[in-house]
Symmetry: C2
Subunit: 316 residues, 2 copies
């Protein structure tokens, strides 16, 4: 049963309004980029996490600022990521840099980071500033590591876990643990929120990576196989490598031969690897839900659990 | 006469050591980029400014952290700038992104920004955090504005002043005003340090831009004319446009015809525009020196004035 959360939509509306205000700029080219990326929306998962974690604790001060800050870090990363992924499509639109050049994309990301710094300074919490510093460090290291692993073909499950934790999970964990910091809550409850964010973030990225190969292009709104074409090994390709030696060759040649992606998809289905990956995602999502045990029961706790559970079934 | 500053070199040594420690990373590709850019040095002008401003006030707490933070913001900007400028050479070495791809360059810049956030959190000054946020905002806007002006050919002296202030002067001003904030000094002295930083930074950038066209490639260690080739109008080209209509055409075609740069240099010398630009740089540098009047006399104040005066003559 879906928990009833009458405050969620008003919060998200306030969030959109505050975000639009925060990223306003006198410089035309920054406005153009932001219309695209920031104000066009997205699922706002990180702000939702911040809101739910805050409310699960009875409401933390500066929950809106926390929600803004985590989303700004995420958006800046997307802008800096467009270069990396050479993503054809981002949220169903042409990647910003294709129209205005890499330069404007990168610098608009920097602009977002400056606004992030502004909004965390507003919370008055130096501990939160330090946590954002640490998260941003791990995030950038994770992104570079992903590039390095692809360049050196240093494929392993261990590296995969490091990458999904660094590039996705730590920011989710900041959204949830940050609420505890602002509320002044420590001990088991703070630890539970952090663990939830990490496990949920890992499940989320595992699901994204799974869909990148196994999803339906129509439902995803983008072509499948982006990771393979960039030489990025994810859980599914790592397990497929154990099934057949030619999988590594496909990754090496960035799926450049006709039928490469279809062969990978067929092997994943026939070998049971697709099912195994789905099983591991569900396990991670269940661990995320269990991590919340130390929290008092509330509709917000249920909503957090519901987010994790949804990763077991998400199709896009 | 050069003021005697026995503490300067020990400070710079501590600075290099602390910087090396701060940007250490477990990720190989980040280490490679940083060997290049951060630890290879540079003139460390911003850390010098922070040191001199601090000592001119009798020594501010966390002066080393301030010096580190301003240099990290500068270095991150250089890494994000390599994409923009497509600079062939940066500090006499091959631009980092050419060897490791734009991706690693941008992300290594992000890593530096995360370390900057860490080091300002250490000062415990939320006012300084907010000042860095504001400076980073203006800086990124200035860089985008420069790109926008080139793309739209929106050339004017007013835009030129906005760009040099935003992309260079505000960070110099943060280095000097930041010392006052850490020392708890307000009023005329704080304002004087801020004004000095702004005026000095403007003179510095005006000199850089002048040398970009009029300097000697041997002394600079890089080819001249980079700005013109990127369609960037600086003070000298703006004044040359008033001398001859073909100057705008040269800028539009990014100096793509043989002899374009030599024609600009010859016109600058013959028309007196080169001399006029030198005169304006000296005026700005003198204004910077005068801005320091409210400060008590000290060798540090003299050293700050000396830095400004040097912009009147700098050849590289």
């Amino acid at each position: 049963m879906k928990p009833h959360l009458p405050e969620l939509n008003p919060f998200l509306l306030r969030f959109e309004e505050a975000l639009g205000h925060l990223v306003r700029s006198e410089v035309l080219f920054i406005r153009l980029i932001h219309q695209d990326l920031v104000t066009a929306g997205g699922k706002r998962i990180r702000p939702r996490l911040a809101f739910l974690a805050s409310r699960a604790l009875g409401g933390a001060p500066f929950e809106l600022e926390l929600a803004l800050a985590v989303e700004l870090l995420h958006s800046a990363t997307l802008l800096h990521d467009d270069l990396i992924d050479e993503a054809e499509l981002r949220r169903g639109k042409e990647a910003a840099y294709r129209r205005y050049g890499n330069a404007v994309s990168v610098l608009s990301g920097d602009f977002l980071l400056s606004r992030l710094l502004h909004v965390i300074a507003k919370t008055g919490s130096l501990e939160l500033v330090e946590m954002f510093a640490e998260t941003a460090r791990v995030l950038s290291e994770g992104e570079v590591l992903q590039f390095q692993v692809a360049a050196l073909e240093d494929y392993s499950l261990e590296n995969y876990e490091r990458i999904i934790t660094a590039k996705t999970a730590v920011l989710m964990a900041l959204a949830t643990e940050g609420a505890a910091v602002l509320k002044g809550v420590n001990g088991a409850v703070r630890e539970a929120l952090k663990r939830f964010g990490l496990l949920y973030g890992q499940a989320f990225q595992m699901r994204d990576d799974y869909l990148d190969l196994m999803g339906s292009p129509e439902v995803l709104g983008k072509p499948v196989g982006g990771d393979v074409r960039e030489g990025k090994a994810t859980l599914i390709t790592l397990l497929l490598m154990e099934e057949a030696p030619w999988v590594r060759e496909v990754l090496k040649r960035r799926a450049s031969e006709p039928g490469d992606l279809e062969r990978l998809r067929a092997l994943a289905r026939e070998s049971g690897v697709a099912e195994e990956v789905e099983r591991r995602i569900r396990l991670r999502a269940e661990a995320a839900q269990q991590a919340l045990d130390p929290l008092p029961d509330s509709p917000y706790k249920e909503a957090l659990k519901g987010l994790a559970q949804a990763e077991g079934e998400r199709l896009a």
